[in-house]
């Protein structure tokens, strides 16, 4: 059997390594979207990943007077526009929006909702000319003159307010956007990369900083938050794992007194990670980054297997039945995740199960035949008093009571996981307020042919119809334009006894004729313009469009619109995370029941099952209560921590439940737990909430598992 293992194992390692090299690690948020997601949730995740809002960065330049800031902003804008990483850069620079204005201007007779057959008949033209005359006579007359000769029917005046809905209207210095206090120049930068592509976001942000130098620049936005959070997490993990590795190495060297054993200890867990990755890659096609991160932590239990093997081998009874039962307990506990509606959780389940089975197999078939042991003297197990079980019980009950009386046990809001520091969030809000970008909470998904002006009458919203009317509407407007000779004749009649000179209106006649005989607008007409980008973010390509509704509309009214899906951005993300958390809790409870059934079958004694389960429950309640007290509420990361507490703690309880070998086992359990407490304990001082939650729960929970298991252990029968 062992010989076979030595043959198969290297082959599997080679195959898995091939997969590691060839299978991409995905960061696609869809893995954390339920398979049966509602349309609103799909839109939400789509927006978080590739929505224009998510890809937008606000750039602020400060530290100089307004005129210098404007100059720096203009230069930075030009450089960024030349960089293919950025889809668009807005800073008020008129040169940058020239193409947009030209598009609207050239196509005003296709875009204007006022165009119909009656719009160019004599009475309507007469009314337009009288209006123009009043405009010329007014205080703004000087500026209106050139507009009147090209656009006497006033289409631009009608169009601009319609098309500028939803765009930023900040203050300006020499035409360049500036904060109202004139201390910061502001730019809006849209990255081509998706918001969740953190490597690309990081490159984009450093490009901005490099191109802005030596100006003093600040970048803010979802991409920046995510990049900063990842940097912080990487920094924490790097620093803290160094501390942990040094600590664990010292403990193991002291325990083994043999450096070879130290290296061999890594074999089961390293193989577990490798095979777990390979299994997920084969089963799902990709491996999600989050799966990998949490998976590696969850099979941390595998480090213990080698410790048990090397430090318990002097035992009279084989450790294998117990070790196998311990591993099986963990596998059953995680198995429920396989059936999750979330791909992310299912991946995590498969990873941990394959990882743990691999680790057990490697320990059994690769390490054991080496027949190497540490020379360890038995350690006298301290005798617990008779009152110990009562104390443990009281402690567990107090923890449970504490948890059950919390007003908020689990916090599923996005905010609870958001590592964005309040000061950074405050700055972002300030910059957005300076920019005057309209905020929206509601996003409507509507069929593209919806008559939004009627359906949403009275509300402030942005819709693609204004920018790109349907081909049918455009054709109707085009057909309403009179032929040049007809138009001239009607115009001459309309201006009779008005003081307009007839020869001044050639630009108007030319524009109408060009539109009448020219092409209609399509999406491609907007290529290379900021408007085109806005259109692309609103049109979904499946016959539906996204319509942001500004201000505080009545959600009931929006929900009542036919054929629509309403996305409440604030509530929907919390609901999605809530469902994720809810399912994780459910699966953990199912796993717990599975563990009970397994133990009942394996131990065949209610007393023995109770001896194993009681310390686990007590430790879980207590560490959950302590984590809650530390963090204010529990999150899904605390839950993962508790799963690990049960997985690791069940081994302690199973070993200690057998009275005969306790003194011999005791040393290995202490060493194993010390390693776990060091490894996770250091995470609890991290500045990242995710790592802190996981670290403190596991460190406290496993330590308590061991203590409680000792206190509750049956006394050896004399």
């Amino acid at each position: 059997m062992s010989r076979l293992a030595y043959l198969i194992w290297p082959l599997l390692v080679a195959g898995s390594l091939w997969l590691v090299v060839h299978v991409a690690i995905s960061t696609d948020m869809r893995a954390f979207l339920p398979r049966r997601a509602s349309p609103a949730q799909q839109v939400l995740v789509e927006q978080m990943r590739s929505g224009a809002v998510a890809r937008l960065l606000v750039v602020a330049i400060d530290g100089a007077d307004a005129a210098v800031l404007a100059q720096q902003s203009r230069q930075l804008g030009e450089k960024l526009r030349a960089d293919p990483a950025f889809a668009q850069v807005q800073n008020g620079d008129a040169a940058a929006t020239a193409r947009d204005r030209e598009l609207i201007w050239t196509n005003r007779y296709l875009l204007s909702p006022a165009i119909d057959a009656a719009h160019f008949d004599v009475p309507a033209l007469r009314a337009s000319l009288e209006k123009s005359l009043a405009l010329l006579a007014g205080s703004g007359g000087m500026a209106a003159r050139s507009l009147v000769t090209s656009d006497p029917t006033g289409e631009m005046t009608r169009l601009l307010p319609l098309l500028l809905r939803g765009t930023a209207r900040p203050a300006s210095e020499d035409g360049i956007w500036i904060s109202p206090d004139r201390k910061r120049a502001l730019l809006l930068v849209e990255t081509n990369a998706e918001a969740t592509d953190l490597d690309a976001q990081e490159r984009a942000i450093s490009a901005i900083q490099r191109l802005a130098a030596p100006a003093n620049v600040t970048v803010s936005g979802p991409g920046q938050f995510a990049v900063e959070a990842r940097r912080q997490m990487k920094h924490d993990v790097g620093l803290l794992s160094t501390v942990a590795i040094v600590g664990i190495t010292i403990v193991l060297l002291v325990a083994y007194r043999d450096p070879r054993l130290l290296l061999l200890s890594l074999l089961p867990v390293a193989s577990g990670v490798l095979f777990g990755f390979a299994a997920v890659a084969l089963g799902f096609g990709t491996v999600h980054g989050i799966t990998l991160g949490f998976g590696v932590t969850l099979i941390g239990e595998a480090v213990d297997y080698a410790i048990y093997l090397f430090l318990q081998s002097g035992a009279r009874k084989s450790i294998w039945p117990t070790l196998l039962l311990g591993a099986a307990t963990s596998v059953v506990g995680f198995a429920a995740m396989l059936f999750s509606d979330f791909d992310g959780l299912a991946q995590l389940g498969l990873f941990t199960i394959v990882g743990l089975c691999t680790a057990v197999a490697v320990t059994r078939f690769i390490l054991r035949p080496l027949n190497i042991h540490a020379t360890a003297r038995p350690l006298q197990l301290p005798n617990s008093g008779r009152a110990a079980p009562v104390l443990v019980g009281l402690f567990a009950l107090a923890s449970l009571a504490f948890l059950l009386t919390r007003p908020v046990l689990f916090d599923a809001s996005l905010h609870s996981m958001s590592p964005v520091p309040p000061a950074v969030e405050q700055l972002d809000r300030q910059l957005r307020a300076d920019l005057g970008t309209p905020e929206f909470r509601y996003l409507l998904v509507l069929p593209v042919d919806t008559d939004v002006e009627t359906v949403l009458a009275g509300l402030s919203f942005d819709a693609p119809n204004n920018l790109l009317p349907s081909q049918e509407v455009q054709r109707r407007r085009q057909a309403a334009l009179p032929e040049s000779a007809t138009l001239r004749a009607r115009f001459d009649e309309a201006r009779r006894d008005l003081p307009f000179r007839g020869d001044q209106f050639e630009p108007f006649f030319a524009a109408v004729e060009a539109t009448r005989t020219g092409p209609l607008l399509n999406l491609a007409s907007f290529d290379g313009s900021a408007l085109g980008l806005r259109l692309r973010t609103m049109l979904r390509g499946d016959g539906s469009m996204l319509v942001p509704v500004y201000g505080n509309p009545d959600p009931a009214r929006l929900r009542a619109i036919d054929n629509s899906v309403l996305v409440d951005l604030r509530q929907e993300s919390d609901a999605l995370l809530g469902r994720y958390l809810h399912e994780a809790i459910q699966l953990a409870l199912i796993g717990g029941v599975g563990i009970l059934v397994l133990l009942a079958i394996a131990l065949r004694s209610a007393t023995r099952v109770a001896c194993v389960v009681a310390p686990l429950c007590a430790a879980s309640f207590a560490s959950a209560a302590i984590s809650h007290a530390l963090a204010g509420a529990l999150s899904v990361f605390h839950l993962f921590g508790l799963l690990l507490v049960v997985a690791v703690g069940s081994n302690y309880a199973l070993f200690l439940e057998q009275p005969t070998e306790r003194d011999r086992l005791f040393r290995s359990l202490i060493v194993a737990n010390l390693c776990t407490v060091i490894g996770f304990g250091v995470l609890s001082i991290s500045s990242t909430p995710v790592l802190r939650g996981l670290g403190s729960t596991v460190a406290i929970g496993t330590a308590l598992s061991l203590v409680f298991a000792l206190l509750l252990a049956r006394k050896e029968e004399a």
């Binding site: 005359l133 009043a134 010329l136 006579a137 007014g138 205080s139 703004g140 007359g141 000087m142 500026a143 003159r145 050139s146 009147v148 000769t149 209207r169 900040p170 203050a171 300006s172 210095e173 020499d174 035409g175 003081p499 307009f500 000179r501 001044q504």
Partner: protein, 186 residues
């Protein structure tokens, strides 16, 4: 008989330096806290075969509030403050133009306000100025420095006497002209 007023004027003439400069004019302008006047304006627009004639009242309150109330041919109130220009016709919704969002208009308004408030630095920031004449009959010619502002106004010609502005002639980029004659209210 030499009246008190004549005596005052004679003393003033002797006290005035031989050459009256833009700085001197702006210096005296700074003393004006409020001014009321009536105006008659004639606009020659190539687009129209007849000139547009308007008339009404002007009010200036230091340092930066200017009101132009057109009474003929159509009543309309234009208010210029440091932050915005509001044009309120009698028969339509007012149009508010924040100066922050209209840099060219801001430069135009700044030039006008700088002259009225006697702010030489602000004036010379946006315009090249040519000044000539005496204290009681001076001419100020302003040409915008930036080409973008020139698209709005090609040149401004202002005539005045003492602290009173008598005439403002404007020529825009296309050659359209506006000439405003101002009479100080009693």
């Amino acid at each position: 008989m030499i009246s008190g007023a004549n005596l005052f004027l004679t003393l003033l003439l002797f006290a005035t330096p031989a050459e009256f400069t833009l700085a001197d004019l702006l210096q005296t302008m700074r003393g004006v806290k409020q001014a009321d006047a009536t105006f008659v304006e004639r606009r020659d627009i190539q687009l129209l075969s007849v000139p547009i004639n308007t008339s009404g009242r002007l009010t200036y309150v230091a340092p930066d509030r200017l009101e132009k109330l057109t009474l003929e041919p159509r009543r309309e109130l234009m208010t210029v403050t440091a932050r915005e220009v509001t044009i309120a016709p009698d028969d339509a919704e007012p149009t508010v133009i924040p100066l922050d969002q209209a840099p060219e208009l801001r430069a135009l308004v700044d030039g006008l306000r700088a002259t009225l408030a006697g702010d030489e630095r602000a004036l010379l920031r946006s315009y090249d100025a040519t000044f000539s004449g005496r204290a009681d009959a001076w001419q100020l010619d302003l040409v915008p420095k930036s080409s973008r502002l020139q698209q709005l106004v090609r040149s401004l010609h202002i005539e005045g006497s003492g602290t009173s502005i008598r005439k403002v002639d404007t020529v825009d980029a296309s050659g359209d002209r506006a000439s405003m004659t101002i009479t100080a209210a009693k």
